[in-house]
């Protein structure tokens, strides 16, 4: 999507969304003093790259666990002395945590777009069923549908992003550590494998599909 900021207005946002042969253009133009409506906020939020606080916590916690496990593995298999190798391992771990969290965020963004479209009908039906007996305006119902769709997509994309990131990271780590770098010095093997795997996963996450 494209976003352009015009100084004379609060914000001019042009959203373009492409899905197979369909082209949906949503244009929101705000006057200088107007604020976003809840519907507009929900719409913006569903296409933004922002991660909620819960999502951030999940990504960083997952990155921490995904980094600690290989460190334990390398220390155990190679009988490395932690007193001698803790300094490089700390730097490697920090780089790996950042790479994995970055990759998770990107994967979540890619997946969220797809899940939002996928869950549109089901969420609409869910909200309609929930508020069938209650009297609420069509606009409010649409807002709730948008919110709920965004919520579901946020949740599902977060979980799926964690799974994909971990699977890719472990596969690349094993190929690097036990095939390409198997004969190297253990600390060098551990460092290059972990940073390399995190780097490759982060790189793969920057693809558009």
């Amino acid at each position: 999507y494209l976003a352009t900021f015009v100084p004379s207005r609060r914000v001019v946002v042009v959203l373009t969304f492409c899905q197979s042969n369909a082209l949906l253009i949503a244009e929101v133009i705000m006057s200088k003093n107007a604020k976003f409506s809840k519907e507009d906020e929900a719409l913006l939020d569903s296409y933004s790259n922002n991660v909620s606080a819960k999502g951030q916590a999940i990504f960083y916690l997952n990155a921490l666990i995904s980094t600690a496990a290989p460190v334990y593995l390398f220390l155990g298999i190679n009988h490395m002395d932690l007193n001698e190798t803790w300094i490089p391992l700390v730097f490697v771990s920090l780089a790996s945590i950042y790479g994995i969290a970055f990759a998770s965020k990107n994967f979540k963004y890619i997946l969220k777009h797809k899940i939002v479209m996928k869950r549109a009908e089901a969420v609409t039906r869910e909200i309609n069923k929930k508020y069938a007996d209650k009297k609420i305006s069509t606009k409010e119902k649409e807002e709730r549908i948008l919110y709920r769709r965004n919520e579901v997509a946020e949740e599902e994309s977060t979980y799926l992003a964690v799974f994909i990131t971990n699977a890719l990271f472990v596969s690349i780590l094993f190929v690097l550590a036990f095939f390409f770098l198997a004969n190297l010095n253990p600390i060098f093997n551990a460092s290059v494998s972990m940073v390399g795997a995190a780097g490759v996963v982060a790189f793969l996450s920057t693809s558009k599909n």
């Binding site: 600690a68 496990a69 155990g76 089901a122 949740e155 979980y159 964690v162 799974f163 971990n166």
Partner: protein, 187 residues
């Protein structure tokens, strides 16, 4: 002069020729059984005594002498010495000592022969002594290097896959649970 020199040579040879030793005569050897020496692991040394004489050897005593910096310590003390009351002619005995190296590196065995003392006959007061043969230099590999190459890593791998599996498949299960709910809604 030539004849005189020849006679002189023969007389010298005969004079210096030793007669066959009388009584027991023990041949002693020291053999290393362990083919791959590792720091902190059992290192098996076998002493062999063979009586090639014509009388029984008595009060046979074998004890290991260590020279220089000793990195090999006996795993079980008091087995580095062996006493035997009698070794008949033609008999052979082996004695196994289990040692354990506390350090890694090269170890020179040539200074580490065992001394053998014995009496050549039953009532003899003579004491004969000798040394065993020795292997030359042995390299003791460090324990960490040995564990790295030959140790079992299965437990570390199991723990690793438990940790990664729980986070990854836990997240996948959460996604599938939500996905199933909304796919049921669609249907």
């Amino acid at each position: 002069i030539r004849m005189f020199l020849l006679l002189l040579l023969m007389a010298t040879a005969l004079a210096s020729a030793e007669s066959d030793p009388k009584g027991a005569w023990i041949l002693a050897s020291k053999k290393i059984i362990t083919s791959y020496a590792v720091q902190g692991k059992d290192y098996v040394v076998s002493y062999g005594l063979y009586n090639v004489g014509n009388r029984p050897a008595t009060k046979v005593l074998v004890f290991a002498i260590r020279h220089g910096l000793a990195i090999l310590l006996p795993k079980y003390l008091a087995i580095a010495r062996m006493k035997m009351a009698r070794l008949n002619p033609g008999e052979k005995i082996t004695h196994v000592v289990i040692l354990r190296s506390i350090k890694y590196g090269n170890y020179t065995f040539s200074l580490d022969a065992a001394k053998v003392t014995y009496s050549p006959d039953v009532d003899s007061k003579e004491v004969r002594s000798g040394f065993t043969s020795t292997p030359t230099k042995v390299h003791f590999h460090s324990l960490s290097e040995y564990e790295r190459r030959f140790g079992s890593n299965i437990y570390y791998l199991i723990v690793f896959f438990l940790i990664m599996g729980s986070t990854s498949f836990g997240a996948l299960w959460m996604y599938l649970r939500s996905s199933e709910k909304y796919e049921d809604e669609e249907n």
